[in-house]
Symmetry: C2
Subunit: 143 residues, 2 copies
């Protein structure tokens, strides 16, 4: 595989094993710790560098209110040292989040993320998610 | 120049000539019309395909309330057919926007954009901007 294909494969494993299935058994093969949230506005861990335990905690707590959440990658842009993805996110709001007890609503959001890759592992991310749209969906009157 | 360098140069011209200086005199050299906003949630032109006049109108109307706005590219990720950028935006809120008359506040936001390149020109964009943070900044009490 080319370096570009190798880098892309790392992000596919992050999305599938970690965000898809909460399977952390091989996480050290594609994530370097500490894992840094260089930019992720309004994420509770924005700006932090997480060790393995902190990384696992963030994934579990982020997924808990949205157990059926699904990321779909719309665009991949990959070079020798970074992977950028444009994605959509779909989920049912089944658990409480700050300010919003579970509503049961179906939510949809888009976002983009860039992952730096150093020595064959992802070292963190720089991300923007369309959280304004989520707020609008949560505040809208139920249909 | 490699195709990757050529693609990157197109986006640099878009940011410099169009968003930086509202200089549309050479826009046809790097933008293909219609220019499509494939995804740009809460942008008034989201989903539209703009001809040259519509493209110019969007840039002028978007910049009008923020005449000193500045985009700073934090990350570039470029391949043979796309350019992704992660950026920060700084501006002074000097003109009215819907729901918010000019406040004079200094605003800061981050975002990411992916530009597809076909036949040597940018054909549109897929973008997410952190508009929630702008809302929080506008609603916060003045210091």
């Amino acid at each position: 595989m080319s370096k570009i294909e190798t880098n892309k494969a790392l992000v596919k494993r992050l999305l599938d094993e970690i965000w898809g299935r909460e399977d952390f058994s091989h996480v050290e093969e594609f994530i370097a710790f500490p894992y840094t949230l260089f930019n992720d506005p309004n994420d509770p861990w924005d700006g932090q560098s997480l060790d393995r335990d902190g990384f696992v905690e963030r994934v579990r707590k982020s997924r808990a209110p949205f157990p059926d959440q699904k990321f779909t990658v719309v665009h991949w842009v990959t070079d020798e040292t970074q992977v950028a993805i444009a994605w959509t996110w779909d989920a049912t709001h089944k658990g409480d989040i700050p300010g919003f007890p579970a509503t049961g609503k179906t939510l949809a959001m888009s976002g983009m993320t860039v992952y730096p890759v150093i020595d064959g592992k992802i070292t963190g991310h720089w991300q923007v998610a369309d959280r304004l749209t989520i707020g609008q969906q949560l505040m809208a009157n139920k249909a």
